[in-house]
Symmetry: C2
């Protein structure tokens, strides 16, 4: 296999995903390419340093990574395959939840349930 281009392989796999991926998830999608787990971590770390990637925390899966140029969005976590899917749109009424004296600078929304594939397979 060719080497020295593995980081590119890693990033392309992440760009092609339909949601944020953890280092392990990403690595498992690269089985067969010979890419080592260390290279996956290196590519992710560099991507974050260079500002092209962003680390996000969904639930139950630790830190995941996604391209930073995506619009504001949230995620759907499938309880069966444990994959996080990108969603589009946002919600209303967040401000009314903030207690007096608190200052909100951001928010995260995660929907839980079963994805299309897992729901049909069940």
């Amino acid at each position: 296999m060719q080497r020295a281009k593995q980081q590119l392989t890693v990033l392309q796999a992440l760009m092609a995903a339909d949601g944020p991926l953890s280092a392990r998830e990403l690595w498992s999608r690269l089985s067969g390419t010979g890419v080592g787990i260390a290279t996956v971590y290196r590519a992710l770390q560099r991507g974050v340093e260079e500002g092209t990637l962003e680390s996000v925390e969904v639930l139950g899966g630790g830190v995941r990574y996604e391209p930073k140029d995506r619009e504001h969005h949230h995620h759907f976590l499938c309880s069966i395959c444990n994959h996080a899917f990108d969603l589009f749109g946002c919600v209303e009424g967040l401000e009314s939840l903030v207690p007096n004296g608190f200052r909100m600078t951001g928010h995260e929304v995660v929907l839980l349930g079963t994805c299309d594939a897992c729901g049909n397979a069940a």
Copy 2:
């Protein structure tokens, strides 16, 4: 100090909190009582088994625990003190985010920012 009632001490501290606590956070609130970290974990584990406690995942703090009898609510995570506060109320428009074929069974909302105390101290 009296013993054999330490688990009760642990649970009372958790009930009195204004948000979910991790095992460490809970333990640190018990400094001075002589309760060991192992007893904290035991109390939490038992509470979950017995159905009085629930483990929740907020962000950036691993697993936290809270009484299970609380109303549906969400959390505010202070980026300075890293404490999670209970919120009251919920949001609108979640259903519209769900992709076709997906089934939503639950949701999590986390607001990020600074709490009253930290915002004033800054």
